[in-house]
């Protein structure tokens, strides 16, 4: 399978799975089993998923499965986190994070 076909497969299966999860309770008037333990687990999806998506990119750069620590990224991510917590503003977080990354890369290169 070519990468383009694989990517379309990813799109279609992700779409069907996502649509099913968000539509069936509405279609069935909420008459789907939703045990308390499942609700307790799914309640934490946003924080857990977002953290898992932030942390590796904030600590490492990777080529395939070889990970190496990237101090400039870590510094920039800490600064961006502070801005995000203080402002709750997406644009400010992006600007602070990218600005800090460029500064930190430049400073670390200058220090040798």
């Amino acid at each position: 399978m070519t990468p383009v076909m694989q990517f379309w497969l990813l799109i279609v299966v992700l779409a069907i799975g996502t649509w099913s999860m968000r539509s069936f309770p509405i279609i069935l008037h909420g008459r789907v089993p939703h045990p308390a333990w499942l609700e307790r687990l799914l309640k934490h999806v946003p924080v857990a998923a977002l953290t898992a998506l932030v942390v590796p990119g904030a600590l490492y750069v990777h080529e395939g499965s070889a990970y190496s620590f990237a101090p400039a990224r870590t510094i920039a991510a800490v600064i961006a986190l502070a801005v995000a917590l203080k402002t709750k503003n997406v644009v400010a977080t992006l600007a602070a994070g990218m600005g800090a990354l460029w500064l930190a890369q430049w400073a670390l290169a200058a220090l040798g």
Partner: protein
């Protein structure tokens, strides 16, 4: 309110629903730009970028699936991670279903497709307490506004993506947009605990487990920690 006589109720509700999500629309634009650009930077075309944003229409999972796939993760890891991210919508759907119970049968699959974080929040916290609106119209109005802005931002990102020089390090924008979403979600001590546990698990497992499957393990670890923290204790009703 002053429109309610001149304007049919459905139209009024749609407009009010769009107004309800208006403050969040500005924040949606950078996500859409990143989502669109990520597909192009992964080496795919405009059709794939639009396919992602129109057919899937769930921002965080789109960006995660795209960047994982692009960095060489196998299909099942990209798909599994993205589906876990969207599993939260099942609970949104269960809790919003009673409000949408009057919707005609043909409309319900479309209402499900429109269910995203921002629209859910606006309907549950604001719309349902207003007696000047019809809640289905309010929800649909918010959904249409979010959908339109998301698609425009995605197209813009997909068109601009190929022109962004690699030296800008824009792949770092992906963790940054997730960070911007994460900050407002850390509302209480349990949430901070979940973030710390997941963060440590992600830092460790991503380097240990093959093909970025460590992400899935980290997310499940964090969820389990949160559920364990919230467990019903003896002597409590829940």
């Amino acid at each position: 309110m002053r429109h309610s006589v001149a304007m049919p109720r459905t139209r009024h509700s749609l407009i009010e629903g769009a107004k309800g999500v208006a403050p969040i629309l500005i924040g949606v634009i950078p996500f859409g730009l990143v989502a669109g650009a990520a597909v192009r930077q992964a080496g795919f075309g405009l059709a794939e970028a639009m396919g992602m944003s129109v057919i899937v229409f769930a921002g965080a999972s789109q960006i995660a699936a795209t960047t994982l796939f692009a960095s060489g993760a196998p299909l099942w890891v990209a798909l599994g991670t993205a589906l876990i991210i969207n599993a939260r919508m099942f609970i949104y759907s269960v809790s919003i279903a009673p409000l949408l119970a009057e919707a005609p049968r043909w409309l319900r699959p479309i209402l499900g497709y429109m269910l995203v974080d921002q629209n859910y929040a606006s309907t549950m916290t604001e719309g349902r307490h207003r007696d000047d609106v019809d809640i289905i119209g309010y929800y649909a109005g918010g959904g249409i506004a979010l959908w339109t802005v998301w698609q425009i931002a995605s197209i813009a990102g997909a068109l601009l993506g190929p022109f962004i020089p690699a030296s800008w390090g824009l792949e770092f924008a992906v963790p940054l947009v997730f960070l911007a979403m994460l900050a407002p979600a850390m509302k209480d001590r349990t949430a901070v605990g979940v973030a710390i546990v997941t963060g440590i698990a992600a830092a460790v497992f991503v380097t240990l487990l093959p093909l970025q499957s460590g992400l899935i393990v980290a997310i499940i670890t964090g969820m389990a920690f949160g559920a364990w923290t919230d467990r019903p204790r003896p002597g409590e009703d829940r």
